[in-house]
Symmetry: C2
């Protein structure tokens, strides 16, 4: 059916359909400037030849035809970011874009390495997670002159655009909530201290609110481990072993909080009577527990969708805000 390398190109179609490459190109891209007859003939020939367009050539030759979008998340195994990725991918793929992923593992160096790779593919734009990046990353992106969306942790001075919410405010809101509920001796269990800037922001906000209310954080335990169920379980065990008479514990996220709940159940600690348990993130599991987890629900998919839309709007030259706030929602639950 076709020639060299078993791959037909525009010229093959052109020859066989008796038109020029240019006409084929126009037809295939659904443009205008050809007769119905020509279109039908070209389409038929393309199908017959099993033509597969070469977007490498298209993107290369046209400088503005790239439909690649890079998206970097902290960890690919994070349930929350899976939903963000889903929101991004659904919005983008529907518009004909392709998503290149990357994980920075909470390291700005790894992020920079990823950015360096990804921009060499001349993507239409890039989505980053978080607001702290290496100077090299910022440089690279500024010079690349493509839309950049920083998601998750809002920043008022984005590289280009920002979509998300304030982690600091999440922590503060929970702090105030707990004080209102009469909690006086709060603890914190986290993970990945050095690495996770955003978890740290929540803790900062939490502490600020507690101190502001006159009942500062009593104790904290931060493991250097994946912030999952295990870490929550053992982190709470360690923290409680210090006998600080805590009446509530704020966890890095819902998974850890559920681990904490499991520990309480195993030890006969009554929740919320003996100890309050608070999570963050809003994973689905948290809402079918025997007692609904007190937590902050993050609209993950909406953030992904909004980020994708902001990116595309910029690409199309449509007006759009540089900073988009996607509010989180405190769910009182029954565990604190």
């Amino acid at each position: 059916m076709s020639d060299r390398k078993g791959k037909a190109n525009l010229e093959d179609i052109a020859r066989q359909a008796g038109v020029s490459k240019m006409t084929v190109s126009r037809v295939l891209r659904g443009g205008t400037g050809f007769s119905d007859d020509t279109r039908d003939r070209v389409m038929a020939t393309a199908r017959q030849l099993g033509y597969v367009p070469n977007r490498l050539a298209a993107a290369f030759g046209s400088d503005a035809a790239s439909t690649l979008v890079g998206m970097c998340v902290p960890r690919l195994t994070s349930g929350l970011f899976g939903h963000v990725l889903d929101g991004v991918d659904r919005a983008l793929s529907r518009l004909g874009y392709q998503v290149m992923i990357g994980a920075n593992n909470h390291s700005t160096e790894e992020e920079e390495a990823w950015v360096r790779q990804v921009i060499s593919w001349r993507p239409a734009g890039v989505i980053l997670s978080g607001r702290s990046h290496s100077p090299g990353t910022v440089d690279l992106l500024r010079n690349a002159g493509m839309p950049v969306v920083e998601i998750w942790d809002l920043t008022t001075s984005p590289i280009d655009m920002s979509v998300g919410f304030s982690h600091h405010d999440c922590g503060a809101e929970i702090g105030q909530f707990l004080l209102r509920r009469g909690r006086r001796r709060a603890g914190y269990v986290g993970a990945l201290a050095r690495a996770d800037v955003m978890g740290q922001s929540r803790l900062d906000g939490f502490q600020a609110a507690l101190s502001g209310g006159g009942h500062p954080l009593v104790g904290k335990e931060v493991l250097s481990d994946t912030p999952g169920f295990y870490a929550g379980y053992y982190g709470l065990e360690t923290l409680l072993a210090r006998n600080l008479h805590l009446d509530v514990v704020y966890f890095h996220n819902d998974e850890m909080a559920i681990g904490g709940l499991a520990y309480c159940q195993a030890r006969g600690i009554r929740v919320p009577e003996d100890l309050g348990i608070v999570g963050w993130g809003g994973m689905e599991a948290a809402s079918v527990l025997p007692k609904r987890l007190t937590t902050t629900v993050v609209p993950t998919t909406a953030i992904g969708k909004a980020a994708a839309e902001a990116l595309v709007a910029r690409l199309r030259g449509e007006p759009g805000a540089d900073v988009t706030v996607i509010p989180t929602r405190l769910v009182p639950g029954e565990t604190a």
Copy 2:
């Protein structure tokens, strides 16, 4: 610093360093055939100009220089596939490849649409999830002449290569296990009946084993919903409402099983005394429950890693098996 469009290219570096484009290309790719002095000069100039290579041009011009790999999963929000993706990405990014993602939402049509897009970028290879694909997908991939790895559900006649395990065997193994434990009236709770071929395979294996043992499946409830906690909770409620006197229920996955456990706890149903609960997948949460969930643990990351390695081995012309079995592990747990 540089010229038109603020982007330096090989020629800019060549001119400023007083060598030819070709020499610059050789230096930048870490090849051979230049003096130390030349190398230093070129490198310095490249850095000074803020040179960002154009892989679009490289991949386009060399036909064998693509480092793009496409990876399609059923759902981006699946915890298990998040880990698979992580395994793939870690293995691949370390070797300089970039991953383009896609989700097929359990639809072979959506998968075909994705394949059509992705191969137009002339990737080095493609990783698909599952073994059932549309004829169009198979055609496209066969003609593309690039390595293809089908993961998750093993097939002995892959398009090219297959890495995973047998879902049918997973179900059968659980069926036999339950019979040995004296269970006689088993039920099943699943989700996405039509769409999820692999879940169906597990159910098939499960039923075959039960029937083979003389105690066929008593009842099943399959929701058209996301296979998550909610669906598990309400699915079990619905199934039990039929008063079939079940003594054990096999769930589509761990999330649903945990939803089922939550239902039992809410209703005072004792597990495993009154009812056995069995999951599938091996999510982390399952192992910190008050009672460890009886389930099948799937080595997700290992599958991703093996798939990536098989793909790269093929690209390098290294010998490798077409079919790689990554065994799952039945965890007896305490819920059945």
